[in-house]
């Protein structure tokens, strides 16, 4: 256990010093992503009827941004880091270290959470300037905690699935970007499912992400999920756990495939 923690800490430390302290990628990435998000979200005002409070609209956008950011972290930090490791020639040494991939994900997670907190503060400020301050309070802390944990579990499963495709095929950046846009949309991450068309509701409820997303929206905005809270927690929990197990299985299979065929070469994009 101590070894595992030491290894995870080594990954966290390397990542933190390299990406946050020394390369400022953290800051630049934050600014860039914040600007793109503003570009895509401000048109929501074209859909807003008069008489709806700006704070309320801003809150809904903000929660959507939060869920989108966490989703993006799973794509670009957790999964795509494997592409960087292949490109930089570190992956082979990582594999022969015998550490396994658990320390890799465990080590990056705290860094992601740190980034998420700072990004949300930044976007709060940006949204306040451009539109209105989001009125966010935690209405139900239990739902928030459960929703956050379940969302994390589902995203780790997703990152393992995506990461496994990186290992075996060296998926292009376009593919990753496509997924990181379409999945939050399809899984009800950006808007309350109660307000969405039936077809989208059906699709979203087939994915493990929408249950914790609904819980988080309920806990922060008070918007009731489409399914009862108890059911949301139960289905989200079981589904998330199964999704994680699936991710682990597929990752191991793809890793073996990469060991059989050789690791792919990947380009910058």
């Amino acid at each position: 256990m101590l070894r595992f923690l030491r290894r995870s800490y080594a990954v966290f430390k390397a990542y933190f010093i390299s990406d946050f302290i020394r390369s400022h990628g953290f800051i630049y990435g934050l600014i860039s992503m914040g600007l793109w998000i503003i570009m895509f979200t401000i048109p929501v005002t074209l859909f807003t009827p008069g008489g709806v409070s700006r704070d309320e609209v801003a809150s809904r956008i903000y929660v959507g941004i939060m869920l989108f950011y966490y989703f993006s972290a799973a794509s670009w930090d957790w999964a795509a880091e494997l592409r960087w490791m292949i490109m930089n020639g570190r992956l082979e040494y990582y594999i022969t270290s015998g550490a396994g991939f658990a320390p890799h994900y465990f080590g990056i997670l705290p860094f992601t959470l740190m980034w998420l907190c700072i990004a949300l503060v930044f976007n709060y400020a940006l949204l306040s300037i451009v539109w209105a301050p989001p009125a966010i309070t935690i209405v139900n802390s239990y739902a928030f905690a459960v929703g956050f944990i379940l969302y994390t579990v589902s995203l780790i499963g997703y990152a393992l699935l995506l990461g496994s495709s990186m290992l075996s095929t060296g998926s292009t950046g376009y593919f990753v970007e496509f997924l990181s846009f379409i999945l939050p949309v399809a899984t009800g991450g950006l808007f309350p499912l109660k307000q969405s068309p039936e077809i989208l509701k059906t699709i979203a409820l087939l994915t493990p992400f929408s249950y914790p997303a609904e819980l988080l929206r309920y806990s922060l905005l008070g918007i009731e999920p489409v399914v009862s809270i108890e059911k949301t927690i139960l289905i989200g929990g079981v589904y998330g756990a199964l999704f994680l197990i699936l991710g682990v299985i597929v990752f191991r299979i793809q890793l073996r495939k990469a060991l059989r065929n050789g690791f792919p070469t990947v380009s910058l994009w």
């Binding site: 030491r6 800490y9 020394r22 930089n88 570190r90 082979e92 990582y94 065929n261």
Partner: protein, 329 residues
């Protein structure tokens, strides 16, 4: 004592997509390794010597548990590379491409600390070991323990890469072209250290290179590999002795015209290289130079060429390689 490395008839075939034009593509199967077998003992350096694409890196990767063989078996430190990969990883130090494999924004020491933690070394041991390696490889003198990796020269990168391979003090080292692209002083330093590791610390070292000169001075045993097959093995002297007893007549000629014409009647293998304007270097591989040297010189002089220098030499390792890969010298 058990063998450090045992390889028995391993094969590996890659599936490669090749594209012709914009739309056509086809799949080809490239046999990188075709049933090679060899062993390596502790306290020795075995060299896999061959040209690019011979199968050296594929073999190293199989032994490093980075690639699964299609058939055959391989054992490292007594453990099977497929079934007991985790045990193999505990017993090897690895050095692949020299110019990457580290975090660009970490300095040399930080990179080594990171890998030491990944290898599971307790912190106190890791720090002592890193201090020792930094001094041994002169990384401190080059400032490599403080500079960011992205600012390293190639020589510094090679040293850091070797330091990582030595971090665990593993009994077996797998080094893939460790001096590729290095300047002579850096390359010499690496070679000296490698020889030390093997003979003083009783490590088994598998060393790949395509440099004949390097193979000759570093390795105790050489495996000549070409197109996925080991074509010959032995010490450098043994390999040279194995080829038909040929000597090399080396002539420097100031030629008026084509120096090859008067030599056409001699059917021995020749290499003619133009050095300067009218100066040529001619090598001829003959079994009994004393019988033909006089006639060769006569033929050249009679054709109006001036023979500036004549030497008779033993065949080099390069000649051995050419013999085994092309079937004759």
């Amino acid at each position: 004592m058990s063998r450090a490395i045992e390889v028995e008839k391993i094969t590996k075939t890659y599936r490669v997509k090749s594209r012709r034009g914009l739309f056509k593509s086809s799949v080809e199967f490239v046999e990188a390794v075709k049933g090679i077998s060899f062993t390596a003992n502790y306290g020795s350096i075995v060299c896999l010597l061959g040209p690019n694409g011979a199968g050296k890196t594929t073999t190293i990767k199989i032994l490093a548990t980075l690639l699964l063989p299609d058939s055959g078996s391989a054992r490292v430190a007594g453990y099977d590379v497929v079934e007991e990969a985790s045990k193999v990883r505990e017993n090897i130090g690895l050095m692949l491409t020299v110019e990457k494999g580290f975090y660009g924004k970490l300095n040399g020491r930080e990179n080594l600390e990171y890998f030491a933690a990944l290898y599971g070394l307790p912190r106190s041991i890791a720090l002592k070991r890193i201090d020792h390696l930094v001094k041994l490889l002169e990384l401190d003198k080059l400032g490599a323990d403080r500079k960011l990796y992205e600012e390293f020269s190639l020589g510094m990168k090679a040293r850091l890469s070797l330091a990582r391979a030595l971090l665990k003090d593993a009994p077996i080292l797998l080094l893939d072209e460790p001096t590729l692209g290095l300047d002579p002083p850096s390359a010499r330093k690496i070679r000296e250290l490698v020889r030390d590791m093997a003979h003083r610390e009783n490590k088994s070292i598998l060393y790949t290179t395509h440099n004949m000169f390097e193979a000759e001075i570093v390795c105790d045993r050489i495996l000549l590999i070409n197109k996925g097959v080991i074509v010959a093995e032995g010490s450098p002297e043994e390999l040279k002795d194995k080829i038909p007893k040929l000597k090399v007549i080396n002539l420097v000629i100031k030629a008026s015209g084509d120096p090859g014409k008067p030599l056409e009647r001699f059917t021995f293998r020749k290499e003619i290289k133009q050095e300067e304007n009218s100066v040529f270097n001619v090598k001829m591989y003959v079994p009994k130079p004393e019988e033909v040297l006089g006639e060769i010189v006569k033929a050249l002089v009679n054709s109006g060429h001036e023979v500036v220098n004549v030497r008779v030499e033993e065949p080099s390792l390069e000649d051995v390689f050419i013999y085994y890969s092309e079937g004759s010298i």
